[in-house]
């Protein structure tokens, strides 16, 4: 378990501050029933243990693989095939993203099952996949990122007038949750890998911006889902 300590401290840093604030509130302004508070403390322990194991596993197992694939893909595959692979990679990492699952679960519960969690996850993953592929195309063709960002957000604004109102906040939230501990490193590895293989282009400027683009995909996806629902 080399390096586990570091991930444990990372998990503690994420969970402890919130836990402390909740404890202070419990004994000052908001006293929740004891059972709820105990559930919170047990949950916090589980989340800490889970998060540290998860981060450690991602760093020792998934990330090295992601980097290998990110570096290998552009060397071996034709452009068209690479775009397809980028789409699939964007899709599968999003399906594995914990934050996406938590949001989908909460939406499912609050809507009384009307907005099904699996449909939501599928939509978000398709959105990320599509935009990762688009972002790769950008690196290959050399379109400035500002154009794509601006175009994407204009589309979002237009769609927000046509979609079912309930889907607007969910769509925007979906854009926020896709940028989690699994997606970000994978997509960055892919972008930097592609930019460095293509040569001539600056791997810094081209490699970055991928995550920002990837998070527009789910917003558009969920809004389209809302148009279909509405």
């Amino acid at each position: 378990m080399k390096g586990y300590r570091e991930n444990l401290s990372e998990a503690l840093q994420a969970v402890l501050p919130i836990t402390l604030v909740v404890m202070i509130l419990q004994f000052s302004m908001v006293s929740m029933p004891a059972v709820v508070f105990i559930r919170f403390l047990l949950g916090a322990l589980m989340v800490m243990a889970g998060l540290s194991l998860f981060l450690h596993g991602v760093k020792t197992g998934l990330l090295p693989l992601g980097e290998l694939v990110g570096a290998e893909m552009p060397k071996r595959a034709s452009f068209a095939f690479m775009l397809l692979l980028a789409f699939i990679l964007g899709f599968v990492v999003t399906v594995a993203e914990p934050d996406v699952r938590v949001l989908a679960h909460q939406v499912d519960v609050v809507s009384g099952g009307e907005i099904n969690r699996n449909i939501l996850i599928l939509t978000v993953a398709l959105g990320v996949g599509f935009f990762v592929a688009l972002a790769m195309l950008r690196i290959i063709v050399g379109i400035p990122i500002a154009y794509l960002l601006a175009g994407g957000y204009v589309l979002v604004i237009i769609l927000s007038f046509f979609t079912h109102p309930d889907f607007v906040p969910i769509a925007f939230d979906a854009g926020g949750v896709t940028t989690g501990p699994v997606t970000v490193p994978f997509i960055l590895a892919l972008g930097v890998g592609t930019a460095s293989v293509l040569g001539g282009r600056s791997s810094i400027t081209d490699g970055f911006g991928l995550v920002g683009l990837a998070s527009i995909g789910p917003v558009i996806g969920v809004m389209i889902l809302g148009v279909v629902f509405g």
């Binding site: 994420a14 919130i18 916090a44 934050d99 938590v102 609050v110 969910i170 949750v177 911006g209």
Partner: protein
């Protein structure tokens, strides 16, 4: 007591994790067989990581579903029904501040921006700007939930502002800024702060838990983008002088 036993029912989460990680693992198997052809030992090491990821994800999701989400919702319901819902605004600010300062991704980002500015903007300044930015936006999100302001009234002007700044910011800052959206939306913000606002919206009269409860993560994602863009403006205007 029975409510505490809920923690033990992990069957559903185990199934969910299998569905979550399955496609990713299949994708890698495909790569391993056709392209990578890594030595068996190496694959075995990676496999250990995958197993750890799965176990960690099961614990995390179960802790969130059975512990965090219900508590956040309960706390929101108590505050929303207390007659003093505005308490949530400073509470939101506090949660936003402590969660962001502690977030490792935010610190990495701060160093990245320091580098992009050739050291002209210190990492500590960035860290404080970002944390205050996120805290402010969580507080704003609570205001929105309590008073029922539609989310796009805040998000769309926010993004338009960021897009307008694109014109004046240099490319490196732009890329970093838009990538930065994710740094503050860590698992804690997503789970706890979201549940809090959903809880408030579900008990307050005239509020809809879907329409007013969700949307907070979007604001939290917007805060770092705007903060970094503004820092970028300061940097490029300083450079010109």
């Amino acid at each position: 007591m029975t409510e505490l036993l809920e923690f033990l029912y992990i069957g559903e989460v185990v199934e969910e994790v299998a569905v979550a990680l399955g496609p990713l693992i299949l994708f890698f198997i495909f790569f391993q067989v056709f392209f990578l052809k890594l030595p068996r030992e190496y694959v075995f090491n990676l496999l250990k990581g995958v197993v750890m990821t799965s176990v960690g994800l099961v614990l995390f999701l179960q802790g969130v579903k059975v512990g965090f989400l219900p508590t956040g919702t309960a706390m929101g319901e108590i505050l929303g029904g207390s007659g003093r819902p505005w308490f949530l605004i400073p509470i939101g600010f506090g949660f936003g501040l402590v969660a962001t300062i502690a977030e490792p991704a935010v610190r990495i980002l701060s160093f990245e921006v320091e580098k992009a500015s050739n050291g002209a903007i210190r990492a500590k300044v960035i860290l404080i700007t970002l944390s205050l930015g996120v805290a402010l936006f969580v507080a704003l999100g609570m205001v929105r939930t309590i008073y029922g302001i539609p989310v796009h009234y805040l998000v769309i002007p926010g993004y338009l502002g960021a897009l307008a700044m694109l014109k004046f910011s240099d490319q490196t800052f732009t890329s970093i800024a838009f990538d930065a959206g994710g740094v503050a939306t860590g698992p804690m913000t997503v789970t706890f702060v979201m549940a809090l606002s959903v809880g408030v919206a579900s008990v307050m009269e005239g509020r809809n838990p879907i329409l007013d409860g969700f949307g907070l993560i979007a604001l939290v994602a917007l805060a770092p983008i705007l903060s970094v863009m503004v820092l970028g403006l300061f940097y490029s205007s300083g450079k010109r002088r």
